[in-house]
């Protein structure tokens, strides 16, 4: 009798364990590991991916491009220039300190000092702790992007960092090798460029999180074929990014699964109107857009791993204008060239990076060949990104490639950097190597940055896309897709998103 009872208890316990998903180890490989543990040192995908593991943001993006509350339980707009965040109570940092409004204010002030992040926080004039668990943010003028910006606020442990929190871009600092956040993981071991070992935070505040990864080991694998080999051989459980050439192979592998998503990084060619007289003619620019078959590029060169674009804003952004479709019509392009007085064509120089975007130089080679068909002789130079950026800053060629991802996940950001009139004072148009300038575009973009009514903003931003389209301000190519791959026991789909911040704290790994 006793044995039976023991057996029954054991079975019950086993069942109970099965439903709470036992702790698992996850090994994963990205193409790089974070440069620093200081979340404010460098604004990059790697830093943000790390931040989502050892810290928590006030709010975070969900898969519908909406906001989920995290360390901010709720928020309310008090007036046009004020937003109040209610901070979650009872959250502890890894050091054991309590997280309060003080820490949030401290973090925001620190970001305003960071060369990389201060641009994003420029519109936040002050952040003050109203009480222990309320933070009030005042913006310079009405601001529609307060929540977008709040996704960057990962509260840091003030007591832990204060006094030794200098942000150092080169050389060592306390914050670049010591860390205390509130996140689902702590770092137990780190050898830069070789591996980072994460251990689950036993006191994690989010007890509803389904995540069951106890230990996570990040191995950076720079070479794409090696990364794929590591997954297929079972050495690692999860990899990103997946190169387009290996998508089919992983899809066909029965022990692995592939997840792809349409991305938000737009790849474009800019046409310099100051360097080349012909490119100042809107008809010529239009002819170029008509001559470049970007749907063909996506199909043949990107192997379908992208979405052909006719504008900067991807679908889901406020500025996405559903009326705009990719244009390709060789005859029309030739007619436009003749109309513009360039029936015999002209010469132009072109520069592209060869290790920055997926298939970047192949895209440029194909574009150059397509432009030859309308009589434009392209002198193409490609180079590694490290050499490309100084050339880009010099505006060293008539046609230059640039890809852009909006840091705020908002359409206005594209215009601010790529299509507004270049202005050294304000920094607008910093990446507008085409020197495209249109007062209406500038005006609408600036207005959209202080308009809190979403419908009105959408109208403004969509109008900007229409103007850029009509004037062929630049050549839109495509939005790069995103891809991740994992062993079939890893439930990656629910934690992935278009920002490419896998929320590994919520990841479930099956036996």
């Amino acid at each position: 009798m006793k044995t039976i009872r023991t057996l029954a208890t054991a079975t019950a316990m086993a069942l109970a364990l099965a439903t709470t998903a036992p702790a698992q180890t996850l090994t994963f490989a990205y193409d790089a590991d974070p440069v620093s543990l200081d979340p404010h040192e460098q604004l990059s995908g790697g830093t943000l991916q790390l931040s989502h593991m050892i810290f928590d943001p006030l709010v975070r993006w969900n898969s519908e491009l909406g906001f989920d509350p995290r360390l901010a339980e709720s928020w309310e707009r008090v007036d046009d220039t004020t937003v109040r965040f209610k901070i979650r109570e009872g959250v502890k940092f890894h050091s054991g300190n309590d997280m309060t409004a003080e820490d949030v204010v401290y973090t925001i002030d620190r970001m305003k000092e960071s060369p990389d992040f201060k641009g994003i926080f420029a519109a936040w004039e002050t952040a003050t702790a109203v009480d222990d668990y309320t933070v009030e943010v005042k913006t310079a003028g009405p601001n529609p992007l307060v929540l977008h910006t709040a996704t960057y606020v990962f509260p840091m442990d003030k007591k832990f960092y204060e006094g030794q929190d200098e942000i150092v871009k080169h050389g060592d600092s306390f914050a670049s090798s010591n860390v205390s956040g509130t996140g689902p993981f702590t770092i137990t071991e780190r050898e830069q460029g070789v591996k980072v070992v994460f251990e689950r935070n036993p006191n994690y505040w989010d007890t509803d999180s389904p995540g069951n990864v106890q230990t996570a080991i990040l191995t950076p694998i720079k070479e794409a074929p090696t990364r794929v080999a590591a997954l297929l051989s079972g050495d690692v459980d999860f990899i990103a990014p997946v190169p387009p050439t290996d998508l089919e192979r992983i899809d066909a592998d029965e022990n692995s699964k592939l997840v792809t998503m349409s991305g938000t990084r737009i790849i474009t060619l800019q046409l310099n109107q100051n360097r080349n007289e012909a490119l100042a003619n809107p008809k010529v620019r239009e002819a170029i857009v008509y001559a470049i078959n970007n749907e063909g590029i996506v199909k043949k060169i990107m192997k379908g791993f992208g979405t052909a674009a006719a504008q900067q804003s991807p679908e889901g952004y406020l500025g996405y204008n559903a009326d705009l479709a990719p244009r390709y019509d060789l005859e029309k392009a030739q007619a436009l060239m003749a109309e513009a007085g360039y029936a015999d064509g002209f010469n132009a120089t072109m520069m592209c990076p060869n290790n920055r975007y997926v298939n970047d130089f192949k895209i440029c080679e194909a574009s150059a060949a397509m432009l030859a068909k309308i009589g434009i002789n392209i002198d193409l130079t490609t180079m590694p990104k490290a050499q490309y950026w100084p050339k880009f800053d010099e505006r060293a060629a008539d046609i230059m490639m640039i890809g852009w991802h909006s840091d705020t996940e908002d359409s206005a950001n594209f215009n601010e950097f790529l299509t507004m009139t270049p202005d050294e004072e304000t920094g607008r148009g910093q990446y507008n190597s085409g020197n495209y300038s249109n007062a209406k575009v500038d005006e609408l973009t600036l207005a959209s940055l202080t308009e809190t009514d979403e419908a009105k903003r959408a109208e403004m931003l969509q109008e900007v896309e229409k103007i850029l389209y009509d004037e062929a301000a630049y050549v839109p190519l495509h939005w790069q897709d995103l891809a991740w791959a994992a062993g079939s026991n890893v439930e990656i789909e629910p934690v992935l998103n278009v920002m490419n911040f896998p929320y590994l704290g919520d990841l479930v790994v099956n036996e």
């Binding site: 604004l43 060592d172 720079k222």
Partner: protein, 328 residues
């Protein structure tokens, strides 16, 4: 006494070599690209970047920068890596054991295979097996090492699943701070594929070299004389002939160390072996100039040291050879 003079002369040579390398390295660094772009996010303004450039001293004139670098270098400071945020020399020394063990693994493999194979081919010139080895070595010499590496990785790690695909596995830290993978099963398993890949560039060359030298010595007068004297075939082949075969092998081997170091860059990259070669390629991608310069200076030093060792080994194998520059 003349050994000391020889060593001093070599030390002076090493200093000159490293000085010249540092000057060349320093003068090309401007063409590697802009390190700032790798240090900051895309939306940081040009003015902000200029400030950082000033802080890093990158806007100073070339000679001011070089003088500062030399001043620090004389005190053993080769600069601080932008990426690792630690002294470049420390980073390189930390990566050295991994590369050393990989080169060691490759050396063991190619010696263990090329010596028997070379001798066999020299003695049984017309056998079908020797022909297979010789044909195979032609194929081997023409396949690039990264292809061999990817091929091995694919067959043995992905398809067969016998060996790990990349990385160095478990390591043990020895008392003097040397991380070794040679003392763990996991570490050794990780070492096999990269070692084979790296040895594959030396193997065909050495088989052919040993075969040719062995055939030549077998035809010399003293070997014929040894036979006439009635020494056993075994003793003639493996003591008298083989010993003299080794001399050119050591020379070429010493010269090939450079090639081996160059090929560790490719092998380490494919296998994500955390050594100096992989680190160097990454440093170039990131425009981590202090690390790049420190690496090439260190490689220059390795060359001088290896050449010196080769000269010593020479005198051990053949007492007729004198140290260069030494008076009898």
């Amino acid at each position: 006494m003349h050994i000391l003079a020889f060593l001093i002369r070599r030390a002076i040579q090493a200093v000159i070599v490293m000085f010249v390398i540092s000057l060349i390295g320093f003068s090309i660094q401007g063409n590697l690209g802009d390190p700032l772009r790798e240090l900051v996010g895309q939306s940081v303004s040009e003015a902000e970047r200029q400030l950082l450039r000033d802080e890093l001293g990158l806007n100073d004139p070339f000679f001011a920068q070089y003088a500062r670098f030399m001043g620090n270098a004389l005190q053993g400071d080769l600069g601080t890596s932008y990426f690792f945020k630690r002294p470049a020399l420390d980073v390189i020394l930390g990566k050295f054991p991994a590369t050393f063990e990989l080169v060691l693994g490759a050396t063991v493999i190619f010696l263990a295979v090329s010596i028997p194979a070379g001798i066999y081919c020299a003695i049984n010139r017309t056998s079908w097996f020797a022909r297979i080895i010789m044909t195979g070595s032609i194929v081997g010499i023409s396949v690039p090492v990264f292809l061999t590496a990817i091929f091995l990785q694919w067959i043995f790690a992905v398809e067969l699943g016998w060996l790990p695909s990349s990385g160095r596995g478990d390591t043990i830290t020895l008392p003097w701070g040397w991380d070794t993978g040679l003392l763990t099963i996991d570490g050794l398993a990780h070492l096999i594929l990269p070692s084979i890949a790296l040895s594959s560039i030396m193997l065909p060359l050495f088989i052919r070299l040993i075969r040719a030298e062995m055939m030549e010595t077998m035809g010399t007068d003293y070997v014929r004389f040894a036979r006439a004297k009635g020494l056993s075939t075994r003793r003639v082949r493996y003591v008298h002939a083989f010993r003299n075969t080794l001399l050119p092998v050591v020379t070429v081997g010493g010269l090939m160390i450079g090639t081996l170091i160059a090929y560790t860059i490719l092998t380490e990259t494919v296998f994500q072996w955390p050594g100096m070669g992989f680190m160097f390629l990454e440093a170039i991608n990131r425009v981590d100039t202090p690390l790049i310069i420190a690496y090439i200076i260190m490689v220059g030093l390795i060359f001088v040291v290896v050449n010196t060792v080769v000269d010593f080994v020479y005198t051990l194998i053949n007492p007729m050879v004198k140290l260069p520059g030494a008076k009898s």
